[in-house]
Symmetry: C2
């Protein structure tokens, strides 16, 4: 398991990484680790990061056009309802070319999906070389709601932690940089956000009575997340817990994590595989 750094002052993945001894209950959802300046500063940093994020994504995509071994990036987003996964997709991922993104929102499994191992439908959605895959919920649902709602036996849940680690090890070894993020809001913040959905007729469609049913199991969900972190935060695919009561902070943090992943890959513009001068002449004559 990765060691958590305690010496960072700037926002970085190391500040948010789940290491040995991590306790979710000690994370303040209102905190903004690594950012002192508040919302206005944070939003400016987010805007400043967009061009960097976008250029790195384009480089990665470009490299993959000539090199089948180009890595991919997979962002796994998990959170309680209303924590802001959709906002991440829009405001962080939305800053780059949709053509380089593979987005998948995992819902309750279909009968066909349930007839397979829980990782069957996940495998099919892994991003190809050069792409950013975004999982809005993921295989972790199978050890979160799966555990809280007892949708599987304890023995099966236990098997799944092992299966997830083996699966992610293979995915990482095959060239995909996995960025796992839990957006962490407080129960009070969730109540405020659900209340807003009930107060606004144009938000009613986003509200489901079942949201309150899940909310009533908040402590059980936090326990299930804690276990997920203990069992599946690995060196190859560490978890990051992002305080998310401040939406601007959560977005900036996820952008930072993705930029760091791209920088580890360090994608390069491909060299021309044709004679540039000859093509210039051919084009001029056309």
């Amino acid at each position: 398991m990765a060691q958590e750094s305690t010496h960072e002052t700037e926002l970085s993945g190391a500040l948010l990484r789940v290491g040995a001894g991590f306790l979710l209950s000690e994370v303040d959802p209102d905190a903004t680790p690594g950012v002192d300046g508040g919302k206005k500063d944070g939003q400016k940093q987010l805007a400043d990061g967009e061009s960097r994020f976008d250029e790195l994504q384009e480089r990665l995509y470009a490299q993959s056009r000539v090199d089948d071994d180009t890595p991919a990036v997979l962002l796994v987003l998990q959170a309680m309802d209303t924590a802001g996964k959709g906002g991440i997709v829009r405001h962080v991922i939305g800053a780059t070319d949709p053509q380089g993104v593979r987005l998948k929102a995992f819902k309750a499994p279909t009968p066909e999906e349930r007839a397979h191992d829980f990782l069957w439908r996940i495998e099919k959605e892994l991003p190809p070389a050069g792409y950013i895959g975004v999982f809005d919920r993921s295989h972790y649902e199978d050890v979160l709601i799966g555990r809280v709602r007892e949708l599987a036996s304890p023995k099966e849940i236990e098997r799944r932690y092992h299966a997830i680690n083996a699966f992610e090890e293979r995915v990482a070894d095959s060239g995909t940089h996995i960025v796992k993020v839990m957006l962490h809001i407080s129960a009070d913040e969730q109540k405020a956000r659900l209340t807003e959905r009930l107060d606004r007729p144009d938000k009613h469609w986003k509200y489901h009575p079942g949201d309150v049913d899940e909310r009533l199991l908040w402590p059980q969900y936090m326990d299930a997340y804690q276990t997920v972190f203990e069992r599946t935060s690995t060196d190859l695919a560490p978890w990051h817990v992002v305080p998310a009561n401040a939406k601007w902070y959560a977005r900036l943090a996820v952008q930072t994590l993705l930029i760091e992943a791209f920088e580890r890959i360090d994608p390069q513009w491909p060299a021309a595989d044709f004679d540039v001068e000859a093509e210039k002449k051919r084009l001029a004559a056309s």
Copy 2:
């Protein structure tokens, strides 16, 4: 076939629609029909339209969450290389929530795809209720490059026009609003854009020597487009030819076409299918 309106002064789909007697050769790729103010004004209009576009898309998506019969919108983009399809995806489609968009770039067909009718792979990518589908190239390649490069017999090409019209009629009847767009650039503009790709090492990956091979067949492609317009611009699925030498104009025009499609659908926020007051109480107590 739709009649082309000649009385419009504001930018609208009617100004760009392919009607009886349409001649591609008479469309000036530098023109900006319906927009007098030039680039700065056009960019402002585009920015102003983004929130309208975004709200309509969200309404449509919301409606589809409670109503399986909600329409979809399908944008079909065709063009010569460098005409700006990618820019449309980024700057027009990119203004709305990626979660409501299904984007598909059609490449040369795979062996599996070639073993089926040309519409087989198209069918699989049609947008579900409430989504915007975007086809970057489409089944029209099979009567464009298919015709110019003689990839199929004249009899088969002939069959395809009929097949496309029958297919699109069914798609439209099943509730999908089809918006077909050809981005029209001049051969000189293409030369300038390809030259820029050759001049910039970070753009080399976008250049393919085959682009010049296709370019040398420009008149044949324009003939093939003219025939496409004559044979497949129907009331249910009319073509629009968008002058595209000015990128800002092409983007504004496509945004306008999409907003018009949404307005024809007139999607509504769904009424709550739960007791709002009861839920407020339950939430407050949670």
